[in-house]
């Protein structure tokens, strides 16, 4: 099928064996691409009991049929493995230039197994694959690694995806960085690379990507590029941080580790302020007409010289959630996360967890190794982020395990302050004042994350009562998950969702690219299959209904401030909503996909393998 290259690399780092394998056509029909392929590979290769940091874990990188074509916002790739942070299926999606370049090198994806005996990087130069010594790159930041590899190979057009010192030192929420400020951020995919002694993957691709109907595609995409700049597309103008004030007004700006829902200094860190005072340039990823990437440069003061691309989630996690109203410090902290190679959300929320422990006098200055971890202390936050990334000192080393493990290690009820589900620190859509979002966070197969169902949008648009739950929410969440599983498998950016009149337009693009006619409904079936297989992976690795719950704070403490004052997640409503979700999915009350459902999705074999 056109669009797909039809082959992928299978690399065993232990034996240094590289094989080129052809992509089964059946995969394309059943799993579409991207995370669909990744979850399938994880299911087929990672049996029960495999430790996520062991050589037996398998990490795979996948593009979709659209990468390298003219389809807007499509130069994306994902990394999928068992997550060291959650022990569930883990994945993240990045953009930049890497995905399309991999396709032009002649591969839809890369599967990596085993563990190299010392630090290496992989260079994919069209048909030539080399596993190269990376000892000179040990301890280097992601930005340095990018530059040094290009220098060594003497070609600036090479695209590099790498890990920083955090990944090498197995900080559990390490990311994979490409194009310097694009990341496979969540679930510690960089940690898996680190555990395999794999510092980077460098790609040079010089071949064509073939599509079914290039002439028509050229015509069809033109108005879509225009639509990317349309009136609804605030991402490319004001940028995602515009949500800071929107959340503030709704009582959804989680502050001081979710103890408050409004932030007294919100205006200081608002998108409007940032755009006016810090943003130096707006840039884009390959084949993106939206251009959401707002690059901040700090021009004076103690953080002078810091520069990073700051989006809403990063800004919130390292800002309001830590009580910090200083854009310069936030820009610096994001830069540290980017260069040392860590997920900004998990980093921010692990720091905010430590801050709450400090404020509640569970931690003292001796334990924090001299850091005065009060909410709002930006100097302490920036220093702690640096220490976590470098695993410097006992305290920061503990935090590098993520908030859940750190809380278990600390004990004394501090798990209550760890704002995570299944070990993944949550995103900027607070549970009590965005309850449809909360359900989506809890059922999410990778842990608390908004980008797997988008169910928070119902709360945002106020089409449901966002301060309570009912049996209608299960369908909203499940439909969202199926939809997003397709989007993440085609892989296109979710910021492009508003440019299509309806989803059939995407199916039409798929036809122009691949030559295969398909309806969106058929796509959704694949989405459902992908999500069910992800759920089956988690069940195989010991997860169940009891893991689909929110942090205790959501059920026990009422919101103290803002328009959502008094809101709480009622356990009876929660259970009813969760039941409705399982029911709609045709899973058992324990959240296990039924035999009937699996058969319907052509996943019969999965039932036995789940181990229930």
């Amino acid at each position: 099928m056109k669009g797909y290259i039809g082959s992928y690399l299978d690399i065993d780092l232990t034996t240094r064996k590289v094989s080129k394998k052809s992509l089964a056509g059946e995969w394309c029909n059943q799993y579409v691409g991207g995370i669909g392929f990744g979850i399938k590979v994880a299911w087929d290769n990672i049996p029960k009991g495999v430790d996520s940091l062991s050589p037996q874990n398998v990490i795979s990188f996948w593009t979709g049929p659209f990468a390298g074509t003219l389809v807007p916002v499509s130069s994306k790739y994902c990394a999928v493995a068992k997550s060291p942070l959650t022990d569930t299926i883990g994945y993240g999606i990045s953009s930049g230039y890497f995905g399309a370049e991999l396709k032009r090198a002649g591969y839809d994806g890369i599967v990596i197994r085993g563990k190299a005996s010392k630090l290496v990087y992989i260079f994919i130069d069209d048909d030539l694959i080399a596993i190269k010594d990376a000892s000179q790159l040990a301890g280097k930041t992601t930005w340095q690694t990018d530059d040094l590899i290009k220098e060594e190979l003497q070609d600036d057009s090479i695209r590099v995806a790498s890990i920083g010192p955090a990944g090498e030192r197995l900080v559990r929420f390490s990311c994979i960085t490409n194009a310097k400020n694009r990341h496979v951020g969540r679930n510690g995919m960089g940690t898996v690379m680190g555990s395999k002694n794999l510092k980077a993957i460098a790609v040079r691709g010089t071949k064509d990507v073939e599509v079914h109907d290039l002439r028509t595609l050229l015509k069809v995409v033109k108005p879509l590029y225009k639509a990317c700049r349309g009136p609804n597309m605030y991402y490319g103008r004001e940028g995602t941080p515009i949500k800071i004030m929107q959340h503030q007004k709704k009582g959804c700006l989680a502050t001081n580790n979710f103890q408050k829902m409004t932030f007294s200094q919100a205006e200081k860190v608002s998108g409007e302020t940032m755009l006016k005072t810090k943003v130096k340039k707006i840039i884009a990823c390959e084949m993106c007409a939206v251009a959401c990437d707002h690059v901040n440069v700090v021009e004076e003061g103690q953080y002078k010289g810091a520069h990073s691309s700051v989006d809403f989630e990063s800004l919130w996690a390292l800002g309001p959630c830590c009580g910090i109203g200083n854009l310069d410090a936030i820009t610096k902290a994001v830069e540290l996360c980017d260069t040392l190679g860590m997920d900004t959300i998990s980093t921010g929320l692990t720091v905010s967890w430590a801050m709450e422990c400090y404020e509640k006098r569970i931690f003292d200055k001796e334990l924090t190794e001299g850091l005065d971890l009060n909410f709002g202390n930006h100097e302490a936050m920036v220093e702690l982020v640096r220490r976590i990334g470098l695993r410097e000192g006992r305290f920061a080393t503990m935090l590098g395990e993520g908030s859940k493990r750190a809380a278990i290690q600390t004990g004394r009820g501090t798990i209550k302050f760890a704002m995570q589900i299944k070990g993944l620190e949550t995103s900027a859509y607070p549970f009590r004042t965005m309850q449809t979002g909360a359900l989506g966070h809890a059922t999410c197969i990778t842990g608390a994350f908004y980008q797997r169902s988008g169910s928070y949008q119902y709360d945002e648009k106020e089409v449901v009562d966002r301060l309570s739950l009912d049996e209608k929410r299960g369908k909203l969440v499940a439909d969202g998950e199926n939809d997003y599983s397709v989007i993440d498998s085609l892989i296109i950016c979710k910021f492009s969702r508003k440019i299509y009149e309806n989803k059939e337009e995407l199916a039409k693009l798929y036809y122009l690219v691949t030559g295969k006619k398909i309806t969106w409904k058929e796509f959704l079936k694949a989405g459902e299959r992908i999500y069910n297989l992800g759920r089956a992976f988690n069940i195989r690795h010991g997860f169940g209904r009891e893991d689909d719950y929110l942090p205790a704070r959501a059920y026990e403490e009422r919101v103290k401030d803002g328009p959502g004052k008094g809101a709480i997640v009622r356990m009876d409503q929660w259970n009813a909503a969760l039941d409705s979700y399982y029911e709609y999915r045709e899973w058992s009350k324990d959240g296990i996909p039924t035999r009937k459902k699996l058969k319907q999705l052509s996943l019969e074999d999965v039932r036995e393998e789940m181990g229930v």
């Binding site: 074509t69 310097k180 064509d208 290039l214 340039k281 084949m287 990437d293």
Partner: protein, 158 residues
Amino acid sequence: MQKIIICDTDKCTGCRICEYVCAAVNSNRLNPRLARIRTIRKEPVFDLALSCRKCENPNCINVCANNAITQDKKTGTIVIDDEKCDGCGMCVNACNFGVLTINLEGKAVYVCDFCLENDKKACIEYCPKEALSYTTIDNLKEPRVKKFHSKLREVADS
């Protein structure tokens, strides 16, 4: 003065759409490496798309041992005679902007021909930020002077 493709670096985002559509329209293929225009990024905040500058007394012509390269007197466009070009790459080496490309599959080099002065240039038409224009450097003077004036005024006001 000759018209060339000029990129507003403040608007350019480095999305490479100009490269993709150039290769698609001119080579009927999807491969930005075949484009006659190139994007360049220098982090953190510099992006530029660059094609032939139509130099006066161009280096590419001066170094060509086969007399395969000429310049159209009226438009300034560089013309490559595929029959005479043996793909030695001296012109690629000599160009200060690196905008000539060796065609790895054939012997001839290629360079932006400004779509033969056709009004419709894919790179400009598809640029989502309207960062590209086909104009003379001279035409840029007025807006630049105005921009500078307003900057001066800002400084004076503060």
